[in-house]
Symmetry: D2
Amino acid sequence: MIVTLTATAPQSTVITILAAAAAAGCEARTFSSHQGGIIVGVAGSVPVADLPGVQTVLEKHRPYMLASRESHQIPSTVVVGDVPIGAGRPVFIAGPCVVESRESLLEAARAMKAAGADLLRGGAFKPRSSPYSFQGLGEEGLRYLSDARELTGLPVVTEVMEPDQVDLVAHYADMLQVGTRNMANFPLLRRVGQIDKPVLLKRGFSATIEEWLMSAEYILAQGNPNVVLCERGIRAFDTSTRFTLDLTAVPLIKELSHLPIIVDPSHGTGRRSLVARMALAGLAAGADGVIVEAHPDPDRAMCDSTQTITPPELATIVDSGLKLHAVLNADPFESAIDAHPLILAMQA
Amino acid sequence: MIVTLTATAPQSTVITILAAAAAAGCEARTFSSHQGGIIVGVAGSVPVADLPGVQTVLEKHRPYMLASRESHQIPSTVVVGDVPIGAGRPVFIAGPCVVESRESLLEAARAMKAAGADLLRGGAFKPRSSPYSFQGLGEEGLRYLSDARELTGLPVVTEVMEPDQVDLVAHYADMLQVGTRNMANFPLLRRVGQIDKPVLLKRGFSATIEEWLMSAEYILAQGNPNVVLCERGIRAFDTSTRFTLDLTAVPLIKELSHLPIIVDPSHGTGRRSLVARMALAGLAAGADGVIVEAHPDPDRAMCDSTQTITPPELATIVDSGLKLHAVLNADPFESAIDAHPLILAMQA
Amino acid sequence: MIVTLTATAPQSTVITILAAAAAAGCEARTFSSHQGGIIVGVAGSVPVADLPGVQTVLEKHRPYMLASRESHQIPSTVVVGDVPIGAGRPVFIAGPCVVESRESLLEAARAMKAAGADLLRGGAFKPRSSPYSFQGLGEEGLRYLSDARELTGLPVVTEVMEPDQVDLVAHYADMLQVGTRNMANFPLLRRVGQIDKPVLLKRGFSATIEEWLMSAEYILAQGNPNVVLCERGIRAFDTSTRFTLDLTAVPLIKELSHLPIIVDPSHGTGRRSLVARMALAGLAAGADGVIVEAHPDPDRAMCDSTQTITPPELATIVDSGLKLHAVLNADPFESAIDAHPLILAMQA
Amino acid sequence: MIVTLTATAPQSTVITILAAAAAAGCEARTFSSHQGGIIVGVAGSVPVADLPGVQTVLEKHRPYMLASRESHQIPSTVVVGDVPIGAGRPVFIAGPCVVESRESLLEAARAMKAAGADLLRGGAFKPRSSPYSFQGLGEEGLRYLSDARELTGLPVVTEVMEPDQVDLVAHYADMLQVGTRNMANFPLLRRVGQIDKPVLLKRGFSATIEEWLMSAEYILAQGNPNVVLCERGIRAFDTSTRFTLDLTAVPLIKELSHLPIIVDPSHGTGRRSLVARMALAGLAAGADGVIVEAHPDPDRAMCDSTQTITPPELATIVDSGLKLHAVLNADPFESAIDAHPLILAMQA
């Protein structure tokens, strides 16, 4: 149940609800509402009707109560470094698949900055299907990312693969990425829920929308509200693309959740020639940004070269993406198009 | 093999190639090239090197030689009634799932026209999973569609389900739709390949891109060049939407084929609130148009009401879609983004 | 609704129900119950409570009322030629993918017979993805199949692809196959529902269990009760096999329907070395038989050679399959294992 | 490359190859061949032709060289406690989804033993989609499993979810399970590769066969040869079962790898009434055993009750499974059926 209290509700009400939840063996969380009051989420149901200061009680709601729009109707903004994600203007995250060397990373970072990127991406710890493949530079790669931020001012996002690495990665990075293979790595989710850095949660390539939001809930339930979702393609039957980019996830997540969502057309397609079009399609679908693999010389990139674009291609995406965003938001279009999603979602 | 002849090649060359193909037991087709010459496609290989007037010989090519960009590098335009599809400006096709009655169809047609639709859709023969469901009005429905065209001037597109219906449907409609369940109904494909009306070929919801283009090839090989493809969602594991709209198919088809492609976000999502965003995403992906289910009063539509939009919603899509198209084509963007697809495709 | 009448119910009751259904615009069917009475199925609900001779009324049931076990609790047996399918002993159907010539077919038929096959399969009309591939010998192939039956005594099963071919194929064949690509070809289903030959209905490779049973319902609703289902693999993400044989469909169909079901491990795997094991697995799952592609010289088969087995391999499958069946049915095992499926199914 | 040395090869040859690999930046491993010599696997290629004692050199092989049959043609046996898996007689692993209490676990263990189980399963650390669901008793649960082993003599298998838990779980359990959601958790795979307890590696529900074997390779490459694979169902489009049990994986894995493989029909179907049939089908497909969820009173099980069977149902599976195994192995059937898989696999 989700109990919203008035701004003037006595603290005893909060304490009574939490105690009743504990007695009933249900987990409970408190968080601040947008109207200045407190919201208490209980994984179960306890009697609250007679308590002072109770404004609304939602007994039936989605299982991901913290991630849902039911408890949090205004879309959230997550700030990475000084870059807001979810605040309107789309955000462009770009960089090489893997940090290869200090020099090449700094060169790439400068090129991304010049092409209009807002954040820099790059892998220091890489999940690889083969134990014999290059697994990343590790902490050395993190230091180079930190250097690249210093050089360009771009906040950096990089992947973390296990609970024990979380503090290390959080020390260097501005945003921690949980990769598609780890979306249901619950110990890792809990651990990134305990830090004060934003988390980029990629969708598991076979995860349903609900499973994905439940994974976000793991992070939120530990107290870290700064979660950005990333659609990166699901596994389907057609192998003419590496994955199938499920752009419908974008407006659907917007209905179901207040969390920002971005799109990864690089992994989603696996083909360089499709990246630009699918980046724009993602923005037209309502995404808050895109993340792409870009490299000054894609054909010489250490991994994922077939899906990596050049800095000029990135510049074209940024330019067209901003124009597209402007035209779709220049008039009352947004409201006309997205007017009733919440209502429909709750009927579903 | 695909043999392109010069504009001045002697007819004997064509005859020699066709005879050699017949002798070798390979099917062969001739068609006109964009440079004024003739192209001969042979499903196999015959000796042509010494013949006069041979300009180029492509021994290795994709299995769908007529549908491929290799044989036909300039995108095709298909004209339905007087509406060109694939000529730049996106086309909007809208109407009810099924023709319910004359009166309701005429009302719907007027509403579609007013909202900016270019073509009217509506089902007279309906494929239904249950033998007990309403199967459409049949020829009566076709007559009402014809009346609606007379009233509004909108060309009409409607589904044909079996070879024996083709002539009947072609008598009334401006474009014949082959539905997702019939994409691999080869006798039907052959039959619609023998008429002179354009065909809207929906992707089978489990068809690969290659299988889809092979089905187009069935139609083209019978002599009907007027095929428009329609991405309408594939079947995947997540049931939070009815199907998974595979928008990546749009730029991929543009690489592989010269045929126009449109997008159906109604069946692709199954949820009214997602249709507008996914229509715009489809256009941003490069689609030549969209087809949507729309009804003056969706909640009272006889079928598919949960995915049917209202005329005002359609008007918003048309308006935003045209703006989006304009901004993405106002500058050298197109060429920058889509510059090398063909090259990449042929390397793949 | 499904209304079961007593054996002594007056005919007026039947007439009244049918008239009420017609008045309400609902389709209705009558068929014989296993207890000697009549069952009336109505696609909707009409008042029957006060009519004489009404034994039971089932208001809520699955959408495929004729195919369901709810209306028909005893498993059905379908007799092809003189071979019963569903009567206990598993049935082995084998033969080449396509009828290549009279001579080769007769040789294959003799080899199948010698290896223990009960029915002969072979394609005269072949659905091919490419318009340029060999499409079968047509009626000539049907005649050869007929000759092969005369020679060996094996009843023959062959595919029919369009409504107009149904009478022709039924003239020569003992059982008509509706292929995976035509499972939702509703005009074809209706047409094979009007003949008096058994139908082998392959599962669409992306069809749900319910869609498959609804397609069977189309045939049953036309009056042809002799439908055998065939699981032949679904399309999934892993391309290391051609399709993914969904053997769980076997016990699930047994719960939901009274219709016999067989398994096709040739198309289901696409690899010769996997066919024998998956045939046995299908029988262990409870299938009433298997259908395999076999050829005296698989490497020289005109199509599907990589999944075609030899006559000795077929003999091994028949031998092991019969032993497996015997041991799994030698004791009260069957009842212990399959005791409560119906109950569970109806709770689902 | 895979270099097999003769039994009398000098140690200098091994050292030279390892040094050459190190110099080339390729990982290398040594392991014992079945013929008494040493095999050196190199993730790359180095010159070996002139070294003394080189018997065979395989330059091209599958990426999972340690898991493949190419390097290890005789099927492996993995011994858990005193129970061999892969040695012929199928193995039955059973127990509750989750350890609920000491008392209930001991009762369940006694019931499993009496019904014929060879190993006991039960979850102490549970991966749950919701952060609000019961996550298992943790170490307390491990102690109860240890008590159950003492009581019944059954070795125990239980899941480990993160690298830091590996030593703890290995202290109590006889076999560590890596669950479907962790199949691509590479840090966890590396960590269980460093212990001396066997590992049960479940297939990721969207993993290809190759990805699965690559995950096994992660464990093997760390020095732990005792890996058993478990097919537990893949995610497909039909929701009438929880997952789609991909039994074809069984004979396919037997072709590609020497590792034992078992089948989990509980998670694979999600429905109690289907478990027995699919367990038998798995054994007929060639699996070395089955793992099922069983509970003295399934309807009161804390989780997965709809897919949990009773002890009598387990006894029926054990009894029928052993009979089925006996009949399929009583004669030269095995060789007839599985004669040429390796050859075919290597052609593929």
